[in-house]
């Protein structure tokens, strides 16, 4: 069981590294997906190995997948809108708002 947690910890810190280092909005979003996915693995492992007769981790993961899909859709809509206005999604160019 500990090895599952080690794998998801490595995945989570890879996501955090990408979140710090990436320079474009889509790269940051991909890193966020890695972080969310590692947390989902943790919930499933705790549910299977420690409390196999309950279903809390299972349903929490189900709702987390739904929420992260919604978040991705909205964030990609924002990315496309930013690209349409500024012709770039690099973070260093995003230094002004509308007003």
């Amino acid at each position: 069981m500990e090895y599952y947690l080690v794998v998801s910890a490595i995945m989570m810190f890879a996501g955090i590294y990408g979140f710090i280092v990436r320079r474009s909005l889509l790269g940051i979003l991909i890193s966020i997906e890695l972080i969310l996915n590692s947390v989902d693995i943790n919930f499933m492992v705790f549910n299977r190995y420690l409390y196999p007769d309950q279903m809390e981790g299972f349903f929490f993961t189900l709702f987390a997948i739904g929420v992260s899909a919604a978040e991705t859709a909205i964030a990609i809509a924002i990315c496309i809108n930013v690209y349409r206005n500024l012709h770039s999604i690099q973070v260093k160019n995003l230094d002004e708002m509308k007003n």
Partner: protein, 169 residues
């Protein structure tokens, strides 16, 4: 050293997850990064199948690998200018991020390996599909109708917001 088939599958999937998640954040092309993310999500679904949660594995495959990755690939192709997205990150940020992340990862892996979890009560076997449906739609204790409805309202708001943000003016 004797290894069961289950352990062999687990080591294979976790090797794919570790290698591809590191490649996801270190490759310079954003489209390759999305492809490695797809491999990570496939291997995660494989871990769910290996833990006998085949419903969750199917959800992971359809929602993430089917929906989210297609969204990513389309938006990458819509927004990336040719040859412009492969600039290297600044060395200062790479050093700072790498040191913070390696320190954090070593600390958390040390804590995971040294912590004594309660004894594992692993029982193989699927969750019954009928039980999943009843727990998802029930209103009693430990049943999940209210979060289900909240997620459905959230998805509706997400559809409306996505159209509103991304439309042409």
């Amino acid at each position: 050293m004797e290894m069961t088939l289950n352990e062999v599958v687990f080591y294979l999937l976790s090797a794919v997850i570790v290698v591809c998640s590191i490649l996801t954040v270190t490759t310079t092309r954003i489209l390759r990064s999305a492809t490695y993310l797809l491999f990570v999500l496939f291997a995660t679904a494989g871990l769910y199948f290996q833990m006998n949660y085949s419903f969750m594995g199917a959800v992971q495959l359809t929602v993430y690998a089917g929906g989210v990755i297609v969204l990513y690939v389309f938006s990458i192709l819509l927004t990336s200018s040719p040859g412009g997205d492969n600039e290297r990150p600044k060395m200062k940020y790479v050093i700072a991020g790498l040191s913070a992340v390696v320190a954090g990862a070593l600390l958390s892996i040390y804590i995971i390996l040294s912590h004594s979890f309660p004894t594992s009560k692993y029982v193989a076997g699927e969750i019954d599909m009928k039980m999943i449906g009843q727990v998802l739609m029930g209103t009693e204790k430990y049943q999940y109708l209210l979060p289900f409805e909240a997620v459905s309202v959230l998805l509706l708001a997400c559809i409306v917001g996505g159209i509103l943000i991304a439309r042409k003016r």
